[in-house]
Symmetry: C2
């Protein structure tokens, strides 16, 4: 970690001390060359990092700074949750234009702090520099009891495919912000889902501890992009039933331009968990977990193809239209 950016670092340090998320395993935080972390016996570490870039992942003039701060951590934490692990600490790499170091930065740090507290994930350090556009990279360290982690590669034919929550909500929230319908009211559920996503930490941990899921990942790019990744990693296919997919509810006031199914299939940023459950564990999956619906949307197949069964019972190839920054280039 570089320390050249004293004023910025000092403000981050202050934010850190107010997160209330410090913990005894973080023996040394911001201010030295690196942070020191004491691993817990019997646990493995889960390491992940995530970009959050102005223009690509958020818009400076559309997204509240506080939401940017919250979401940059939430996204990375979601990857930890997707392993059945619990987030423990994070490094925040921040590059800012000089004009961004005032009120925007305060609001941003408030969002980071709120998220850190909510996810019980301590700020351990980071690196700051200057740029023309806002660049954020978050690296999270999580912990999972050795051997209990849930990877993408364990799905087997016959396993039932589940998703948490409702899909497409975050995409609809983004759309509302894009078209600028009214002011940003983050109490609106779809806006909240887009601006302040809640990684499914407790659900992921519960599935891991109870050994209920054979494979798991988080839905970040959309079901149609992410499901193929789980299937590829597991060497299987899947058959999903369009009617079963818990799609976003589109309010009438938005008009008829939005298809709930399309949003649910291709919308990104939901950070729900997609997981597979072996038949003999099905009974242990409740309809909802801490108020979050858990829905069976299909099954894993031996044949490595992805079928979407429509309301007439026809199976069509699942179109892949989720988000991939390297496509359409």
């Amino acid at each position: 970690m570089r320390g050249g950016e004293s004023a910025v670092l000092e403000r981050i340090e202050k934010a850190e001390s107010r997160t209330g998320s410090r913990n005894s395993q973080l023996r040394l935080g911001i201010g030295d060359d690196a942070a020191l972390w004491i691993p817990k016996k019997g646990y493995e570490l889960v390491l992940t990092c995530d970009w959050f870039l102005e223009g690509t992942h958020f818009l400076r003039d559309k997204h509240p700074a506080e939401a940017v701060g919250w979401k940059c951590l939430a996204r990375a934490v979601s990857d930890v949750a997707a392993m059945g692990a619990v987030p423990r600490c994070f490094l925040l790499s921040l590059a800012l234009p000089s004009v961004q170091s005032g009120a925007w930065f305060d609001q941003f740090l408030r969002g980071v702090r709120r998220a850190a507290k909510r996810f019980r994930c301590a700020l351990a350090g980071g690196d700051t520099t200057r740029t023309k556009t806002i660049l954020i990279n978050v690296m999270v360290v999580g912990e999972v009891v050795s051997g209990l982690e849930i990877t993408r590669s364990g799905a087997r034919p016959g396993d039932i495919l589940f998703t948490s929550g409702r899909l497409g909500e975050a995409e609809l929230g983004l759309e509302l912000i894009r078209i600028g319908k009214g002011r940003v009211d983050s109490r609106d559920p779809v806006l909240k889902k887009h601006l302040y996503p809640e990684p499914r930490i407790e659900l992921g941990r519960w599935l891991a501890e109870k050994r209920l899921a054979s494979a798991m990942m988080d839905l970040s790019d959309g079901l149609s992009s992410d499901l193929p990744r789980l299937c590829t990693a597991s060497g299987v296919g899947a058959r999903i039933i369009s009617e079963k997919i818990p799609a976003v509810r589109v309010s009438r006031r938005l008009g008829g331009g939005y298809s709930p199914l399309e949003l649910a299939l291709h919308g990104g940023d939901d950070y729900e968990l997609l997981f597979t459950v072996p038949a003999n564990r099905l009974r242990q999956i409740p309809r909802s977990f801490h108020g979050i619906p858990l829905t069976a949307i299909g099954a894993i197949t031996k044949k490595p193809t992805l079928l979407l069964v429509d309301e007439d019972g026809r199976g069509l190839p699942l179109p892949n239209s989720g988000w991939d920054p390297f496509r359409n280039s």
Copy 2:
């Protein structure tokens, strides 16, 4: 970690499998939501991250892609070395313009791979996305025997201040590249120091294991910027002797425009170790370690000021002109 960028990830994965730096603690690498790391008993983890941005830290048209790959890892590894720790694995976050995904990217990955092998640091994962300019963030996990780490805060009055290597070399190398004197010949020592810096991993580890240093940091922004940080963290001052500073040797063919002392004081990117040694350990510090000179350049003082003693024995305040991206704004 996001997996949306399949083609890019595949090439990184191939690079990973050729690094020869895999190790048994990295139980799961690229390809899932996160990497899994098994901590070693009796060790603590050292966590650090570092930006490496086009325009700020390197120039696309001046710096060979292979050097960019090498240096982005070397910089972050240097922070680990500065704690007396050994690098073990890293996450690579990469944002590229689409035009950069061909030959440039191959060369870049070759540099990353070479560095990973040299530093024995395994690629554990990362995140890729697209942008207009090249953005790199590297997060390194290191290990140190519990309690042996060397922080910045342990310097005490009377301790002797040491630096490894020669200072100002990397800055002169950058200058040669900037003015474009001849072709880039990376065998030139100052160019090599700028393009392919060698973090002082073995030296850091040795100082930690022998408990020889009371405080340590790496010189990344320049002695005049970094020494104040060590002193502030330790609550002390320092007095350095200009004649003792092992400054870069400036070749005559460059003309008289370069002051070795100025380069040594304010030049960044050397990645040498700055460390303090209690008087009773001085005898155990050799003149060089594995061919790298170790030079006493001054002493730690109780008074929290920084003095540079010139050749006439006058102590003047140390001017701070090192690199800080948030200054001069």
